[in-house]
């Protein structure tokens, strides 16, 4: 398959655009300014059955300017973004940014970091130069292999939503009026398969996926298809269970959502806004003593890794919870100033938004291998309870910690899987749930930016029939 493509903007050109935008915004009247330019090149293919369903290719660019204008007792702020990188368009945006900032209130906390910018850009192995030349045909072939493996796994797999492969490259350049200018390149590749299983009246879907910074890091395509099919098949014949209180195991696909929800409540913004149930609990035990949670932006090849954050601060490894004790908030410069603390290098930034706190590679530490806590062992240990394999809905309230979500999974009696479960909810309070973690798996596999071994919570309410 041939295709015509626009030449990508070179790194030097992108840096020149950033420098130009900073100067233009200062000229227009800003006392401080930072600029982010992102260029991405993405390909996506989906195969369903024997047919290619779609092939999508795109190149996109974006420029974001944050203008800060000095005012009485503080600074006024605006954010403007555009995909038009021509010099005159950037000049117009710069003027607009300053005019917009002047219409807002003066905020004594607003401003760029006072120094401390990253002085070197560590090589975090965020892409493999070889992968840049990956052809569409190769990714179509990956999707086809996953799809074939899923479809031929079992006669009950007779349909699918398809198997999808994606490859993207991005270049990020960030600079500010304090003299910082940094750039990095990254890639991400993924493969996803979503087959359907049918048996009589029961029809179920499930998925499996793999992703990584390098194509070589991806799980074998056929294995992705097989695992997806296996997961769909085991859901056939799912039913409700009676309302009860039992121990609940979250598997490696569902446990990460709990870790992510906890991390969102450690964000400095939710703390100064008093909208987190963890506000005021710094230094306190907020989870079982077996719980250690880490956010590390410097993990080589990590899907969330980056050499500097959205404000040019060096990134680092932050231990959020150590042996159950809350160690730190996640902070960018603004939230840090609000709380009288230093940034933790956790600013996330898109071209169209102000810096905000975000996680990078976030995980729950696995238990020691000597714990013998494989998922199989955790199931075998359970007298009566639920293994959760899928969660749906958004039933989590960060202000109170109240938790209630739709779930599907497998019912366990006397250490054996008895039948699939669906159309139930699991409910509790996230704070209590972390306090009641009584078993953590010994194996950590990173399926995405946020990862967790399987986790058992001693007691949750299941609502069912």
């Amino acid at each position: 398959m041939s295709n015509a493509r626009r030449d990508t903007t070179s790194a030097a050109e992108m840096e020149a655009i950033v420098t130009h935008a900073i100067e233009a915004t200062r000229r227009a009247g800003a006392s401080q300014v930072d600029v982010l330019v992102v260029e991405g090149d993405d390909r996506e293919v989906r195969v369903r059955g024997d047919e290619i369903e779609f092939v999508k290719q795109a190149q996109g660019r974006g420029l974001g300017i944050r203008a800060l204008v000095d005012a009485k007792q503080g600074r006024q702020t605006s954010i403007v973004s555009t995909s038009d990188l021509a010099r005159d368009a950037v000049d117009r945006m710069a003027e607009e940014a300053v005019a917009l900032a002047r219409a807002t209130a003066s905020d004594p906390t607003a401003g760029l970091p006072e120094g401390g910018f990253a002085t070197e850009i560590p090589d975090l192995e965020l892409f493999d130069p070889q992968d840049r030349n990956v052809t569409l045909e190769a990714r179509i072939e990956d999707a086809k292999r996953a799809e074939r493996a899923a479809r031929s796994f079992d006669p009950r797999i007779d349909n699918s939503e398809g198997s999808q492969a994606s490859s993207g490259h991005a270049r990020v350049v960030y600079g500010n009026s304090e003299g910082f200018l940094g750039a990095y390149e990254s890639a991400s590749h993924g493969l996803f398969s979503e087959p359907l299983a049918r048996d009589g009246d029961s029809m179920q879907r499930d998925y499996w996926m793999t992703s990584g910074r390098k194509l070589a890091d991806l799980e074998d395509a056929a294995a992705v298809g097989r695992k997806a099919a296996e997961r769909a098949i085991r859901r056939l014949g799912g039913k409700r269970v009676p309302t009860c209180e039992v121990p609940v195991i979250f598997d490696a696909m569902t446990a990460p959502s709990l870790i992510g929800q906890l991390a969102s409540c450690v964000s400095g913004y939710s703390i100064y806004r008093e909208s987190s149930f963890l506000a005021g609990k710094l230094g306190e035990m907020i989870a079982d003593a077996s719980v250690t949670i880490i956010d590390d932006a410097l993990l080589p090849g990590g899907l969330g890794s980056k050499p500097f954050d959205g404000e040019g601060q060096p990134t680092r490894r932050n231990v959020l919870v150590e042996n159950g004790r809350l160690q730190t908030w996640l902070l960018d410069t603004y939230a840090g100033r609000k709380l009288g603390m230093a940034s933790t290098g956790s600013a996330a930034r898109g071209t169209g938004s102000a810096p905000r706190v975000g996680t990078t590679n976030l995980w729950l530490e696995p238990s020691d291998a000597s714990s013998g806590a494989t998922l199989e062992a955790m199931i075998a240990e359970l007298d009566r309870g639920l293994l959760v394999t899928e969660l749906i809905g958004m039933g989590f309230n960060p202000t109170t910690g109240d938790y209630s979500r739709g779930a599907a999974g497998l019912w366990i009696e006397k250490g054996e899987i008895v039948h699939p479960v669906e159309e139930i909810t699991i409910a509790g309070n996230l704070g209590d749930m972390f306090g009641q973690i009584d078993r953590i798996g010994s194996e950590l596999i990173r399926y995405g930016r946020t990862a967790s071994p399987p986790v058992r919570i001693a007691r949750m309410t299941i609502a069912g029939a």
């Binding site: 290619i52 945006m93 909208s275 958004m394 039933g395 739709g406 599907a408 309070n429 309410t461």
Partner: protein
């Protein structure tokens, strides 16, 4: 609420404005559109289309009593699609020009290998037939200072309502979108879509307890309409009331019980439980729990559900969909029987039916998919009070946050943000937000009462599918649903 009232002729004005916008600013005219489409058609493709978009979005937000930032975003580009059978090729560029459209067309047509001779494309103007949201002033042209002043008023008003209100966050978001669609069958149509929204969230604190209350509203109309104090003060009052109410809320019961859903936003039940399952793509592929159920009973007698993109000023309304098909009012379920799916062009063609005006996309960077517009159940005849009285022991759910559905198994959830126990036919104590879960294909068969009080939501819904968000609306009269699982903590 009345259904669409489209006066013919008026639509020409909006479409003409959009066309001249792309002509004047980007030099796009019928002959350049045809040239770009011709590039795609040089290969063996069945159909090709171009989607040009120029969108300005601005938002101003307040917290801690300060309007801390103003944002303005410009999104522009062209998406080019080629279709052959079930296969689609898609490419997009952030540059609006004939050259980038031709380049993208060259990429999109890569799904087909063979070249072929073809007749040149002849562009013919398409008429929407209605003009649902023309505004005199683009919401993005309202001065920022006006929005800043308004936010400050919202802040002081909210704080004045109750001493327990300790935080107020509010925002005004305005969008003005120009689109132009041209297709190889000659379709050419343009539209201008305004969209406004106001959000307010308050935090109420009492001792160690803190609760949030949220309310928002919006649609495709003049920003002035929202700026009417009588209107926005009611929204702020609601946010305050919900936060204070939740300070008193008890743990929610768990288990299967009879549920009464209030009017308006609880219509999200329809969106999740049946709406997605009736989108053409899932039914063409037979991956929906509703596949092959056309003509069958899927709801109780008396239940009629429609998806209507033609209601003037609504957030989910569109003059034409993002493939140029005029929007319309589609009946999905009529008196309990499944009678219609929602279609885009591709799936309609493959299923041998007409497109229904539901081919929508988030932006030029996304391929169209069958999507909902405004989805609601028609009113019944019962008195809402009587419906509540009919329940001995159950839950009364008045407002909801988000929801989600598994199309294939049909299982859906939606989370209550305001709910009460019903005891002996009377509204009891408020309970904490809980998730409700059910099975799409049979939940509406257990609707045992339909109120006369149909209401549409305030205009805040965004629907996500395949990573694409589009604005939608929902609506519902008060209804009683038996045996729905309520996901609380009190067994």
């Amino acid at each position: 609420m009345s259904a669409s009232d489209s006066s013919s002729g008026r639509d020409a004005a909006t479409s003409e404005r959009a066309l001249s916008f792309f002509r004047d600013r980007f030099d796009l005219n019928d002959s350049s559109l045809a040239t770009a489409l011709d590039t795609a058609l040089e290969r063996q493709v069945d159909y090709a289309d171009l989607y040009f978009e120029y969108t300005t979005t601005d938002s101003v937000s307040l917290e801690e009593g300060l309007v801390k930032s103003g944002d303005r975003h410009l999104e522009q580009g062209v998406g080019v699609r080629a279709i052959r059978g079930e296969r689609q090729g898609y490419a997009h560029s952030d540059d609006i020009s004939l050259e980038s459209a031709r380049l993208a067309a060259g990429t999109a047509r890569a799904i087909a290998d063979e070249t072929r001779p073809h007749a040149p494309v002849e562009i013919t103007p398409t008429r929407a037939g209605h003009d649902l949201y023309a505004v005199a002033t683009a919401p993005t042209d309202v001065p920022v200072a006006t929005k800043v002043d308004w936010l400050n008023e919202i802040d002081s008003y909210a704080r004045s309502r109750d001493p327990r209100i300790s935080q107020v966050m509010a925002s005004i978001v305005c969008q003005h979108k120009h689109v132009l669609v041209a297709a190889s069958d000659g379709t050419r149509v343009a539209d201008v879509l305004p969209l406004v929204r106001m959000n307010v969230q308050v935090l109420a604190a009492d001792g160690s307890r803190r609760e949030v209350g949220y309310q928002g509203a919006g649609g495709r109309y003049e920003l002035e309409q929202l700026r009417d104090p009588a209107r926005w003060k009611k929204l702020v009052d609601e946010a305050v009331r919900i936060a204070l109410l939740n300070l008193e809320a008890e743990a929610c019961p768990a288990g299967a019980m009879d549920v009464v859903l209030g009017p308006g936003w609880p219509g999200i039940l329809l969106h999740e439980a049946i709406g997605h399952g009736l989108e053409g793509d899932f039914n063409r592929k037979k991956t929906s729990a509703f596949s092959d159920k056309m003509g069958q009973r899927v709801a109780a007698e008396g239940v009629t559900v429609v998806d209507d993109g033609t209601i003037p000023g609504r957030r989910g309304s569109i003059n034409v969909d993002d493939e140029g098909t005029p929007s319309r009012r589609n009946v999905l379920i009529e008196n309990g029987v499944l009678v219609g799916y929602m279609q885009d062009r591709l799936n309609a063609e493959l299923m041998g039916v007409e497109p229904t005006g539901n081919g929508r996309r988030e932006s030029y960077a996304h391929m169209p998919l069958p999507r909902m517009t405004n989805t609601f159940m028609l009113a019944g005849e019962e008195d809402p009070e009587e419906i509540l009285k009919s329940v001995d022991n159950g839950l009364y759910a008045v407002s909801f946050g988000g929801g989600q559905v598994d199309i294939t198994s049909g299982k859906f959830v939606f989370s209550a943000s305001e709910a009460y126990r019903i005891e002996g036919g009377r509204i009891g104590a408020p309970v904490k937000g809980a998730t409700l879960i059910g099975n799409g294909p049979d939940v509406l068969t257990r609707v045992t009462a339909i109120g006369h009080d149909l209401a549409l939501d305030e205009g805040v819904g965004t629907c996500g599918k395949d990573g694409q968000g589009v604005p939608v609306g929902v609506g519902l009269p008060t209804i009683r649903v038996n045996d729905l699982t309520v996901g609380g903590t009190e067994g």
